[in-house]
């Protein structure tokens, strides 16, 4: 998935105000002692589903677009972040953070958890696959067949995810470049989950179905000092094709936009910087700030000219480091659903 959560993962160690003030500055310097992504590396499953503690940061990130029997749209998010406190890869030197969210017509609900490494309170096992923090879990026999649960004070979800297609390496064989300067991460996705399950809301339980997208990413130094935030999309198009794209905004106003076109059979087509364009068209007042909740997205190679609009513009994550994350609907040359994440606003 995108570099989006790097910032949030660091939230364990930084207060919100400090982090905003510092921007990404802190990230540029602290790679010493950590492993760096290597373009030659190729993924081996299921081992790579597990943790890579020699890298500084890592996450397991699931978003799902769901609907009930009436067609009402819902969205859920399930994220587990790992962040090393100090290099060396020791379990006790890891900090864990997790976010869960549920976007619904009745409102956007979210919760946040933290845990100390090696405590038994959080962790990831590759086989049989299990990622957990407290009672939240993503567990399967394997990563293509998982049960996803999480809850907060007002919501709970319990979903079954099944994928029948391969994992998709992002970037060049899983080596995802984040800037002209060459910062990169290891990154693969599973965008082909079919979902069934139950959402529990303040108004009661709802049976839902839909599709989900998993991102796995690890790195040690993913951003340059001048990058101020990102806008990230993952789209399920109606023909079965998928599109992942992100726009890393620079302090000088420019942006680094890349992505991957994923064919319905799972074959990825990495996009060169600039091929994909993303322009904000609609802004909303969210949590005392202006956030773009409508986008024009084009990809000439696929004759794609679409509008990406937030289903619930108030999908704000008021977590320690706040950001916007919620389901979107796609209209235009292609139709579909997806997820949008924006940080740094």
């Amino acid at each position: 998935m995108s570099v989006r959560a790097v910032f949030a993962a660091l939230a364990i160690w930084l207060t919100a105000t400090q982090a905003v003030a510092q921007g990404f500055a802190g990230l540029g310097q602290t790679t010493e002692g950590y492993a760096l992504p290597d373009p030659a590396t190729r993924f081996t499953y299921p081992a790579d589903h597990g943790s890579h503690p020699e890298f500084r940061i890592e996450w397991w990130y699931v978003t799902a677009n769901l609907q009930d029997a009436d067609g009402t749209p819902y969205g859920i998010q399930w994220t587990l972040f790992r962040n090393a406190i100090r290099p060396g890869g020791a379990e006790a030197d890891q900090g864990w953070m997790a976010h869960a969210a549920l976007s619904s017509p009745g409102g956007h609900y979210y919760a946040e958890r933290f845990a100390r490494g090696a405590s038994g309170q959080a962790g990831v096992m590759a086989e049989p696959f299990e990622a957990f923090i407290d009672e939240w879990q993503m567990a399967g026999p394997d990563l293509k067949t998982i049960r996803l649960t999480a809850q907060g004070t007002e919501f709970h979800y319990d979903l079954q995810l099944n994928a029948d297609r391969p994992f998709v390496p992002q970037g060049e064989g899983g080596f995802s470049v984040k800037s002209e300067a060459g910062q990169a991460s290891h990154y693969y996705s599973q965008p082909f989950y079919r979902v069934t399950g139950t959402l529990t809301l303040p108004d009661g339980a709802v049976e839902v179905t839909g599709q989900a997208w998993l991102d796995r990413e690890w790195s040690s130094q993913p951003l340059t000092e001048t990058q101020t935030g990102w806008d990230w999309i993952s789209l399920h198009l109606n023909g079965g094709d998928k599109l992942m794209g992100y726009r890393l905004r620079d302090r000088d106003g420019s942006a680094y936009t890349v992505g991957t076109w994923i064919n319905a059979d799972g074959t990825p087509e990495p996009l060169a910087p600039g091929q994909l364009t993303m322009n904000a068209t609609d802004w909303a007042d969210v949590a005392d700030r202006q956030v773009p909740v409508g986008w024009d997205v084009t990809l000439a190679e696929q004759a794609l000219e679409i509008n990406v609009d937030a289903v619930y513009p108030q999908s704000w994550m008021g977590t320690l480091i706040p950001y916007w994350e919620g389901p979107v609907r796609v209209t235009g040359s292609h139709e579909g659903v997806g997820y949008l994440e924006m940080s740094g606003y």
């Binding site: 364990i12 160690w13 930084l14 207060t15 400090q18 406190i85 100090r86 006790a92 030197d93 900090g95 864990w96 919760a111 933290f114 845990a115 100390r116 405590s119 038994g120 309170q121 957990f132 407290d134 009672e135 809850q151 907060g152 004070t153 007002e154 919501f155 709970h156 529990t200 320690l320």
Partner: protein, 796 residues
């Protein structure tokens, strides 16, 4: 018109700066004593709040294990079931200047917005995390911890407390498990009940400042009572100074009225004037109170630490509320002190005779009213004694009794003076007694102040002395062992036993544990069957075979405070921590201990509470010094593992003395304030005395003689007041010992009277009277004869 009136009234003070100073000083002193005491109390309460807030995790409920610590596995089981709990390790680490409470927290799961926020906040958390992490403490506490520990200063942490990462605390305290789990406010939607996850844990309501507050309430109530007393005494000064100012400006008031000033204007201007003084004096009093509080604070802090284990930093903060309340109390005090004078001015007809006697006559008229009020106060006091309970009733009793005594004083003095007059033979003596009686109304307020100060001194002094006598006697009985030894481990215990057996000394284990009994923290001690206990440990009440039962391994003894608090008597059953019951076989006195205490047979303690502290032993020997040397030389025990009976006694007495150091300081201050009150009253009187003294002078008495008579009068009145203060003081002592003490501390003390202690007080009262009358007397002695002549030439 108003401006002219203001100018005329204020010009008076410009001409008499000394009198202005007295007024301001009296008011400032009254405010100072009051606000100083308030500051100390507020500071202490704030400290309790902070400590309780941190210790309890910001008012969160917690999960506790009856068996002691909670395992890491239990914590994880709860988290993985959805329970949002955060572990805490709670313990003490030693520093050369006393122990510091160490709180290990988990920055990952601890509540972010509570008192832990600061500890887990901001950049430098890598220093905090991990077993080698640093401690965070307030600057003063940090100073105590360095250089033994690596500390970061944070003024937001309560004094006497250090916060650290859980892993650091686990290492420093050598504690593998958790002391408790805080239960966070936000809990998820679906969560199995506690019984399913951790059936052995108990959910406990948040600890609040009230727990510590309840323990220290009596102490603060004592301080407050003293502050109030001082304030009342200070008001007598203000009353004197205001009375003097009104008296001396009587002619001016009259002139102003004659010249067309309305009574209303006059009263409003006078109120404005007093308001101004009250504000100035209030502000000065606050500064002064701050100094007094700063001076007393170390003793207060020491008392709180020694007696209650409550920590308090020796620093004060001035809050705006404090400034405001100080000024408010000064204004209130001035209003009380000046109300009578103002009413007089308002009612005074424009041509009221400028005769000062009018004032005195009005006061004489109030003597009967005062006596009635005294009876009413006495009735209130008796009602509180008969029907009330608790500390408040105790203080109503105290206040009613003191007020009754003060109000009855003028009548009592008048009676004494009438009796004395009957004994006089020559004309001068006759005049002296009659004249002294005539002065009574003007002096009665000051003398009431003196009576209050003296009886407070006698009462509190008697209480402290009684307490000391009882306490030392009790220490002699209770400290039965000659040497107290603390061992480090079982091996050392075995070595100690072997060594002592060889030396022919006897060893008594003093093992104990802490637990909640009837909802309050208590100490549980185990005693072995040994004649030294039966011989030296008197029981206040007991079953006939109390010690035999204990020897048989049955029953429990409870201390007096626990028995009184819970209404326990021998024969009733007591539920002990862990849920078992045992009959109470006796009650013993346990002075100075704020906690409940239970003594059970040693074997029962070992069996029921395997986690009890087993490191303390008493040793019976004929030669403690030799044994001590042997233990150090042959067993390798260190000096601080042993304490002999003498040192323990000295320590206990030191705690005791410190407790009452504050009381003594306030006693001295109150007496000084009373002296000042007499001074201002005499100054007031001296100006209106001239018409009464001039005839004597014209009949052939020298001014020097007149001055001597004035001195003699002050001393006579002081002596009579002192004599009257003795029964009042003893009554006060009885209330303190038999009513307040029982309510506050839970023990009753026998009263012991020390008349020798009164001697210095008598001298102090004499000195106060002499010093305060010296100046007016000197003034009289130096008065130009012309002033005296004028009495005959003027109407005034």
């Amino acid at each position: 018109m108003t401006r002219a009136v203001i100018a005329a009234l204020l010009s008076y003070w410009r001409r008499r700066p000394g009198q202005l100073a007295t007024l301001i000083l009296g008011l400032a002193l009254a405010t100072a004593l009051w606000s100083g005491v308030q500051a100390i109390n507020a500071e202490a309460r704030k400290t309790y709040d902070e400590a309780a807030n941190v210790l309890a995790g910001g008012g969160l409920p917690s999960l506790l294990s009856p068996s002691g610590t909670i395992s890491k596995e239990t914590f994880i089981r709860l988290r993985r079931a959805g329970w949002q709990v955060s572990p805490v390790i709670d313990g003490w680490i030693a520093t050369p200047e006393g122990r510091v409470r160490l709180l290990g927290i988990d920055p990952f799961t601890a509540p972010r917005d509570g008192a832990f926020g600061t500890a887990t906040e901001a950049g430098a958390i890598d220093d905090v995390l991990g077993p080698d992490g640093i401690l965070i403490a307030s600057p003063a506490t940090a100073d105590r911890l360095r250089p033994a520990y690596n500390v970061r200063e944070d003024p937001a942490i309560a004094p006497g407390l250090a916060v650290a990462d859980l892993t650091v605390a686990a290492r420093l305290l050598e504690q593998p498990g958790y002391s408790r789990l805080m239960v966070l406010e936000d809990q998820p939607l679906i969560r199995p009940p506690l019984e399913e996850i951790a059936p052995k844990l108990i959910l406990e309501a948040p600890e609040t400042a009230e727990d510590l507050g309840r323990l220290t309430d009596s102490f603060h109530l004592n301080l407050t009572a003293f502050g109030l007393l001082s304030f009342a005494v200070g008001l007598f000064i203000v009353n004197g100074a205001v009375g003097l100012a009104f008296e001396q400006r009587r002619q001016t008031f009259r002139t102003l009225r004659a010249l067309g000033a309305t009574a209303r204007t006059l009263v409003i201007v006078l109120i404005g004037e007093l308001l101004l003084f009250a504000i100035i004096a209030g502000l000065a009093g606050i500064v002064l109170g701050y100094l007094i509080a700063g001076y007393l604070l170390p003793d207060v802090a020491a008392t709180l630490r020694g007696l209650y284990g409550a920590t308090m930093e020796g620093s004060l903060t001035l809050s705006p509320v404090w400034w405001l309340s100080g000024v408010a109390i000064a204004i209130l005090g001035t209003a009380l002190a000046a109300a009578f004078g103002l009413v007089q001015v308002a009612r005074m007809p424009p041509l009221a005779p400028a005769k000062p006697r009018a004032w005195a006559m009005v006061s004489q008229g109030t003597a009967r009213w005062q006596l009635l009020a005294a009876l009413a106060f006495l009735a209130a006091a008796l009602a509180a004694l008969a029907f009330g309970s608790g500390l408040i009733a105790g203080f109503i009793l105290l206040g009613g009794f003191l007020m009754a005594a003060a109000l009855a004083l003028p009548s009592a003095l008048a009676l004494c003076l009438r009796l004395a007059a009957r004994t006089s033979r020559d004309v001068m003596a006759e005049w002296f007694w009659a004249d002294t009686r005539q002065q009574l109304p003007g002096l009665s307020l000051a003398l009431m102040a003196l009576l209050l100060a003296l009886s407070a001194n006698i009462g509190v002094g008697t209480m402290v002395a009684s307490f000391r006598t009882t306490f030392t006697g009790w220490l002699d009985q209770r400290l039965v062992s000659d040497l107290y030894v603390t061992v480090e481990d079982k091996a050392q215990e075995d070595a100690l036993r072997a060594f002592l057996t060889a030396e022919g000394a006897e060893i008594l284990p003093i093992w104990h544990t802490d637990g909640d009994i009837l909802g309050a923290p208590a100490e549980i001690y185990g005693v072995v069957d040994h004649p030294v206990y039966t011989e030296n440990w008197p029981l206040l009440s007991s079953m006939p075979d109390a010690w035999d039962q204990i020897a048989r391994g049955e029953g429990a003894l409870v201390n007096e405070q626990l028995a009184r608090r819970e209404g326990l008597t021998p024969g009733t059953a007591l539920t002990m921590p862990g849920g078992w019951e045992t009959p109470i076989v006796g009650v013993y006195s346990d002075y100075g201990n704020p906690l409940g205490q239970v003594v059970i047979p040693w074997a029962v303690l070992v069996e029921r509470y395997p986690e009890a502290d087993k490191s303390d032993f008493g040793v019976l020997t004929d030669d403690p010094q030799a044994l001590r040397a042997g233990l150090i030389g042959e067993l390798g025990l260190s000096e601080d593992q042993m304490i002999d009976q003498g040192a323990l006694k000295a320590f206990s007495l030191d705690v005791f003395e410190r407790t009452f150091a504050v009381t003594a300081a306030l006693n001295v201050l109150t007496l000084s304030v009373a002296g000042l009150a007499i001074l201002t009253s005499l100054l007031t009187l001296s100006t209106i005395r001239l018409p009464q003294l001039a005839p004597l002078w014209s009949l052939g008495t020298t001014r020097r003689q007149l001055a001597m008579i004035e001195l003699l009068r002050a001393v006579t009145l002081a002596i009579v007041t002192f004599l009257l203060a003795i029964p009042v003081g003893l009554g006060l002592a009885w209330v303190l010992l038999s009513v307040i003490n029982v309510e506050a501390f839970g023990w009753k003390l026998p009263m012991t009277v020390f008349p020798a202690d009164w001697l210095w007080l008598f001298l102090a009262a004499l000195a106060a009277a002499l010093l305060s009358s010296l100046w007016p007397a000197l003034q009289l002695a130096r008065r130009p004869p012309a002033d005296l002549i004028r009495v005959f030439t003027h109407e005034r």
